[in-house]
């Protein structure tokens, strides 16, 4: 039930066109207007217009045609098909080879719609914000070009109707991330960070690609629609390598892919470094959109994950651990953006727990709310850093509330939201995940896993509240700690920067309404509307979808229906955790950096722990050593040892050297003396004649069947100048039963090879001798071999 809509392609195309214009066309046209550089206003107008256009179009498409479809689908009630098709556009067949067919096609369904609005909406705001933030930048057009390019790629990612198309966007956003992280490439560290991001992403992409291959291997398709057909689903349940289901390996591979993009353990290391990029980039790419691509992908592939509870458990556990560890690492950071980066990693962990326990809606919900407040946080941070002359060291801030009120208030709203305080959006989404985790218990999970996840996340949530408010207090609370020079420049940011902040803050406050908690009345019907859940359920295989569970055979993922009391209890718990975190932070950092903490970090175990946390558990170093150093070392070693020494040195140049030595030897022998030459003739001639004429005879044998063997005399090396043998008149005798008497006699003719067949009494070893007698000089050459006749009945055949 999918409808073709011919406007879909415009959504990604608009930003891409913007990028093209900004990167190429305007630049080429600039000389026509008499200027070397294209004008900044033209640049950002193009960029913003393209993204806004995409946003508008997305709103229209979601609001009108998709909404119609959704309402129709919704109205059907129980009779409705599993999923509604959404809008679809087929542009052209990208690759069609053999059984593989990849269409360049886009699909807009409810899940995509959510992503679409987030990307274009927040994207537009960040574009606008950038006008102020990047003001005066030399490579202004390039920045907007990349930003547009990124938006386009991200839109391809979410709109792609098949995995390979998704992969185009997947890699494309990685590229833009690379370019934007390294935007200020004059600093080696920035460029390094960009490369690190790209490489870590590539590790994930490696798994993603393998996942695509394996999925095709299993189901013969890479198209989302095809993959959800029952036969494809059956294929996923096939037992594969090592006894697990096929679905498990595929899911695992895709999850590794997601880890790369969404910065989960163990591939999270690139994200904190990625903060080297301009702040709008951090906001858009490394907080709101690109990093959530992994979550999106898993939700998109939910039908696959539904078939491997093991894979889901891995997703959830990795997510939970990431959430916790990232939160811990955020404690020790003193760079504004780094704290936010770890916070992002941590929040992404939350989302992964959500999707890992099957609470897809919760995951997507958190994705949305996080997009708003984290984008806001970054933008606010950018605003702060803008004011602080670009420095992000929170130890040198403080008291900024007086100088930049708009920024401060927005920042506070975001902090409250991320800390999970009612009624801000973060509260609802985080609570959904916690509830999902608490109630999770899929087949084979055991009773504890869900509780473990919940407990881990709760600690992480506590940490979140703590470090966010540590940040807040260090930045805005207390007294200003910076030097005078910086102080003189402090000012509130222009409206182009603060208006987006305010818009985001507004959304942060209210967006929670789309996902009220699941409170049931007596009739088991929801008390509060759960818009997002309904909206997504038309696309995503959420828990509780009967049809897929039937296809699965067993109900592997039980519905998570917590009782109202439990739900409310959990909500209160989460709220409390948030408050505890905030007040702890207030207690310690309310008036600036805590000396106690500083002192604790300077001594004994405290120092050790602090160092470990500050250095991010030395994971970077581990990577540095295990990947980079190892790679480089291995590379050097291979190059020196294999290429230089073994292949080139020993084999190639070695053989040349050997031949050269031979040549030199010949030169030594050729000393000009005629007698030497003549002696060479005599000796050499004698040797050649000797070797050419050494009589050697032999025979080959070949077992034909059970006990029949065929013999072929071999005189190939026999030359008879020494004995003067007349080969033509030679006689050959075979003694085949080792009785000393000839069993077979024949004349031998060298031009016409002969064969002798003999039947033996069965398996065993036999001694066979062959004698060749020269007719002229009556010389004999004989050879005796022991042959083995095999018992062919046992093996059933012989080669």
């Amino acid at each position: 039930m999918q409808k073709t809509n011919n406007l879909l392609f415009l959504i990604p195309l608009l930003p891409l066109a913007g990028a093209f214009l900004n990167l190429f066309v305007w630049r080429l046209l600039a000389p026509l207007t008499g200027k070397y550089r294209q004008s900044d206003s033209l640049t950002h107008t193009t960029a913003i217009a393209s993204v806004l256009g995409a946003f508008g179009l997305a709103c229209y498409l979601v609001g009108v045609p998709l909404w119609k479809q959704y309402s129709a689908w919704h109205a059907l009630g129980d009779a409705r098909p599993e999923t509604m098709g959404g809008l679809h556009q087929h542009l052209w067949t990208w690759i069609e080879v053999g059984s593989l067919k990849i269409d360049l096609a886009f699909r807009l369904d409810t899940l995509t719609a959510v992503m679409l609005l987030v990307i274009t909406g927040i994207g537009s705001l960040i574009h606008i914000y950038s006008v102020g933030y990047m003001h005066g930048e030399k490579r202004y057009p390039a920045f907007f070009g990349y930003l547009n390019l990124f938006t386009g790629m991200m839109l391809i990612l979410v709109l792609g109707d098949s995995l390979p198309i998704m992969f185009i966007g997947w890699e494309g956003v990685g590229l833009c991330s690379y370019l934007l992280i390294g935007f200020w490439f004059e600093e080696t560290a920035n460029a390094d960070a960009g490369r690190k991001a790209f490489v870590a992403n590539r590790v994930g992409d490696f798994a993603f690609l393998l996942g695509i291959c394996l999925l095709f291997y299993a189901t013969g398709s890479v198209d989302f629609a095809d993959l959800q057909r029952p036969e494809s689903i059956d294929a996923l349940k096939e037992v594969f390598w090592g006894g697990e289901r096929m679905g498990f390996y595929i899911a695992l591979l895709f999850f590794i892919g997601a880890c790369g993009k969404s910065a989960q353990i163990p591939l999270y290391v690139w994200l904190p470094d990625a903060m080297a990029g301009p702040t709008p980039v951090s906001a858009l790419i490394h907080a709101a959109t690109m990093v959530t691509a992994g979550v999106y992908m898993i939700v998109r592939m939910s039908f696959l994950y539904a078939h491997s509870t093991t894979a889901m458990a891995i997703v959830a556990v990795v997510g939970a651990l990431t959430a916790l560890f990232a939160a811990i690492m955020a404690f020790a950071q003193t760079d504004l953006k780094k704290v936010l980066a770890y916070s992002t990693v941590s929040q992404l962990g939350f989302m992964f727990v959500g999707v890992g326990v099957g609470a897809y809606t919760a995951g997507v919900f958190h994705l949305i709310t996080h997009a708003f407040f984290k984008a806001g946080l970054f933008l606010a941070a950018g605003s702060v850093m803008h004011a602080m002359s670009g420095s992000g060291d929170i130890m040198k801030m403080g008291g900024l509330r007086k100088y930049m009120p708009r920024t401060r208030w927005s920042f506070l709203i975001y902090c409250v939201a991320i800390a999970g305080i009612f009624p801000f959006s973060g509260f609802f989404s985080k609570d959904e995940i916690l509830a999902g985790a608490f109630g999770a218990g899929a087949e084979g999970w055991g009773p504890v896993l869900g509780k473990f996840l919940w407990a881990t996340l709760s600690i992480a949530a506590l940490g979140t509240a703590f470090y966010m408010f540590r940040l807040y207090f260090l930045v805005f609370g207390g007294e200003l700690r910076c030097d005078e020079e910086t102080k003189s420049h402090i000012h509130e940011s222009p409206y182009s920067m603060t208006v987006p902040l305010m818009i985001l803050a507004a959304f942060t406050c209210v967006i929670g309404v789309i996902g009220f908690p699941h409170l049931l009345d007596d009739k088991k019907e929801l008390i509060l509307p759960t818009y997002l859940h309904d909206w997504l359920s038309s696309t995503v295989v959420d828990f509780g979808r009967e049809s897929l569970l039937m296809a699965n055979g067993t109900s592997s993922i039980p519905e998570s229906h917590l009782s109202n009391t439990l739900t409310i209890g959990l909500m209160i718990g989460a709220f409390a955790i948030g408050l505890i975190g905030i007040f702890t932070a207030k207690a310690i950092y309310g008036r600036g950096p805590s000396e106690k903490v500083a002192a604790m970090c300077e001594t004994g175990n405290g120092k050790a722990i602090h160092n470990v946390v500050l250095n991010k558990f030395y994971v970077d170093e581990l990577y540095e050593w295990s990947l980079y150093r190892f790679f480089r070392g291995a590379a050097k070693t291979l190059h020196e040892v294999v290429d230089r020494f073994l292949i080139d040195g020993l084999v190639v140049n070695g053989s040349a050297w050997l031949i050269d030595r031979g040549s030199r030897g010949l030169q030594l022998f050729q000393n000009g003396q005629l007698h030497r030459y003549l002696v060479g003739v005599v000796v050499g001639g004698a040797l050649i004649f000797y070797f050419a004429s050494s009589p050697k005879v032999s025979f080959d044998y070949k077992q034909l069947n059970a006990n029949e063997v065929e013999f072929t005399p071999d005189f190939s090396s026999l030359t008879t100048i020494r004995g003067g043998l007349d080969a033509k008149g030679a006689t050959i005798t075979f003694d085949l039963d080792s009785d000393g008497e000839a069993d077979f006699t024949s004349e031998y003719h060298p031009q016409k090879p002969m064969k002798v067949k003999w039947t033996f009494g069965g398996a065993g070893k036999y001694k066979v001798s062959m004698t060749m007698t020269d007719a002229v000089f009556d010389e004999k050459y004989s050879v005796t071999r022991t042959i083995t006749v095999k018992d062919l009945a046992v093996k059933g055949g012989v080669k």
Partner: protein, 111 residues
């Protein structure tokens, strides 16, 4: 019975082979170009003796073969003479440029 009756073709062949060997030995052992040339002449003459011995052997029943052998021998003699002439001229040339004719000291061209 006289001892001469026992001289057959084989005896000549053995003689020729011996002469030939002496010739080879001379070539291999002597350093003076002239003597080497003489040894080579010895080899040619050994061959001639062989030819003539065979020719004589064939004379009884195969006249054509006998004539061929004789013609061959005459050719060889003639050519040996020509060869000697050329060889001597070359030895003279060598002697004129080097003042010796020791072939082992001619090592300007080597390697």
């Amino acid at each position: 019975m006289s001892v001469f009756y026992d001289i057959t073709v084989s005896h000549f062949l053995v003689l020729a082979a011996a002469l030939f060997t002496v010739g080879i030995a001379g070539v291999l052992l002597r350093r003076n170009a002239l003597i080497v040339m003489m040894s080579i002449e010895l080899m040619l003459n050994a061959a001639n003796i062989t030819v003539l011995a065979f020719s004589r052997g064939f004379a009884g029943n195969n006249h054509e073969a006998a004539y061929q052998g004789q013609a061959f021998a005459l050719t060889v003699i003639a050519i040996a003479a020509a060869e000697a002439a050329v060889g001597l001229a070359i030895v003279v040339t060598v002697f004129r440029t080097r003042r010796h004719s020791d072939i082992d000291r001619l090592t300007m061209l080597k390697n």
